[in-house]
Amino acid sequence: MAETKSRSKRLMTTGGIIFLVLGIILYFAKEPMGLNRKIYDLPIFLIIIGLCSAIKGYMAKDKTEEEAALAGKTFTEFLTNNAILLAMLVLVVVICILQPRFMQIRVALDILTQSSTKLIMALGICFALLIAGTDLSAGRMVGLAAVISASMMQTATYANRFFPDLPQVAVWIPIVAAVLACMVCGALNGFLVAKYEMHPFIATLATQVMIYGACSLYFDMPPNNSQPIGGIRPDFAQIGQLRLFNGLWKGFPGISILIPISIVICIAIWFILNKTVFGKNVYAIGGNREAAVVAGINVFRNIMFIFILASFLYGIAGVLEAARTAGATNNYGNGYETDAIAACVVGGVSMSGGIGKVGGIVMGVLIFTVIQYGLQFINVSPMWQQVIKGVIIAVAVAIDLTKYRRK
């Protein structure tokens, strides 16, 4: 046992160093060897991966006897447990061979940008999953927030203004309005689930339909009459489009503001789940609702809060989507909840409640985005993309269930 753990440590460290050295060599060799158009930023990626791996291998603590026994993984077990991740890595390698442009820093940044709103959605929906529920209204809340915020953020000169006489209000007002509207819907979800002990599937299905209807009514108000909202004020669009450190060096596209926003939210949610009474109560209610009641946890209040917090995040995601695309229609966010749930499940959140970590959700979202993005990158037909997406979800859940099944 002792030998294997030190071996895995050594493997990580030496592997990391090999990557690192290879990366540095390639970095200086690619210009003279004319590889610039063949490997793009591959050396930099190698250096980063190598560094991370080497540091992790070096820093890794020796596992205690018990942990080692519990981990007790054989190679095949390791393969099955990480099948989705490995499939992603294989896909990435294939894409890099087919289309070397994939190996660019800007592509990596782009993937992170695209993951941002998805991550915010997934973090919201994970609360519902943690109490063995679900939230079907998530996507429609994104649409609601997008339409509300965009409708108040049009330039004065735009021909087709939603509110022709609305003055140029401060940016935060529509954002707060949009997020509050979502939180009201979230409160309704929570009320139905907590008060009537409705299954979240039904409760959120009902609100989903209501929200879409209400949003469509709003969207259909004259003079807009269901036209896509455009003419978005640049100061609002900046919230989703701003790029930090743009042009820091030649060709550097900048880091989308969405990335730091989602990182901040991620840390906040991690903190809430792990360091607050509320977070612990969420796990407890998900683990055993009856026992939570007996332990004196106010289940009603916690469930209300869960759905309101989740809808707050959907609202933020909706505002960001509107800002990023500088526009909105009532169809925004359609189907986002399924992607978010799928990403959570791939990230190890159990549908039966009580199990799930923020780190896993981040992984799930990244894996999902990389696969989707990669398939689009090599121009795989959208129908095939759907098929592959479905397979990923099924495989992920199957693996998850075998992990928890005891035999």
């Binding site: 055993n288 004196g296 199990i355």
Partner: protein, 511 residues
Amino acid sequence: MSEYLLEMKNITKTFPGVKALDNVNLNVRKGTVHALMGENGAGKSTLMKCLFGIYEPDGGEIFLEGKKASIHSARQAMDQGIAMVHQELHPIRFRSVMENVYLGRFPGHMGVVDHKVMYEKTKALFDDLELDVDPLALAGEQSAAILQMMEIARAVDMKAKIIILDEPTSSLSDREVDHLFKIINRLRAQGVAFVYISHKMKEILEISDEITVMRDGTYVGTWPVTDEKGEKLTIDFIIKQMVGREMTNQFPPREGKPSDDVVLKVENVCSPLKKSFQNVSFELHKQEILGIGGLVGAQRTEFVEALFGLRGIASGEILLNGARYTNKSPGFAKSRGLALLTEERRATGIFGILPILENTVIANQRSYAHFGVLNDGRRKTDADAECKKLNVKTPSLNTLIQNLSGGNQQKVLIARWLLTNSDILILDEPTRGIDVGAKYEIYNIMLEQIAQGKSIIMISSEMPELMGMSDRIMVMCEGRVTGFLNKGEYSQEKIMAFATQFAGRKDSTAA
């Protein structure tokens, strides 16, 4: 033909980090009741799960009637004549009793169920076992005792040769136990063998023919209950084998007396449900252990749950330390210094998928929080101290509670409520399904709490426990308080008389 119906030889099973079974043997003769004993965590349930195909043993062999058997699933076990009646039954609540009996093997042709045949077969089966239950009644409305006998009926109908009974009497009243034993005796005479898992010594000596004792996953030995000279095994002998040491006292000595201060006064409390508790009145004194006795269906659990805010109260008055108390919610009860250890440990007690740490501090989170943010360090030190004090056996606080034995789970739950520093502990069957050693530890904890000025209400269906631990006993029957007994006037007969006061109206087994 082998002399044994079932032989399990050198069964070994390892879980990650734990050797649950180490070369265990079990030999059961035809037409006998074979008791399987050991402390919780000794590996009895694991062994039975290996027999029943739920676990796959790592080593060892199983022989049925002398032939090597291969059992990889519960289905295969049943096909080969092995049936298991679990400790906690999960019937399909909204279907009839008969459908539960014939679940998975409905009589009929080509997928069409013949309800008439099913009814008649169930009726005949029940008549044979002297069970007075309507096959059409809903399973969810039946008592634990009936459900258990329903499971046995199912096993009989499936022509089971071996029936495993896991803690069959843990939720049964004495009268129901008698009925169960009658059924066991009848089936034993027909050649059916039983593997009987229980912690109740008296019962074991009464019903079983042979005893196999396990300790810490190993095989200790097998003895006939009555040897050739006609001498019976003694309880002390069995306990010695189980714990590996002598145990003289079942209960720790009680020091001191309850004070005269009344901490809880309950007057004429009635449930909104007619069939539940009515007109309950009593006083609980400081530093008193008030035992509540009664048969299954006496509504004792319902009453304490109502007190704790889990159920409604229609009328009546409750005074807590002289102040009016309303049973708003469990959270409110908690804030008023009440604690409830529920009867169903798995259903309403533990959070199986959460670590011990979380299970210990869950009821006390608020005291570790500033504006909702938790102080992790204090949570850990508190949980660690409390679990150490109660002698919870676990590798670490991060172990999932579902991996602990029942006794250790119970200790964690008690630790949970001790952390809230409640003044009144309500313990509903605190030692159900727990081995002798752990029981003794829990009794000690109770007395320690009393010494610290707390008061305890304890529901128990085990007469010795009720009489051994209580300062006073209140007996309930069908939702009403039928009598109080003071220390010194306890006897099993008196308690039974109160507990069956209304029994003339209805057979209490069906209650």
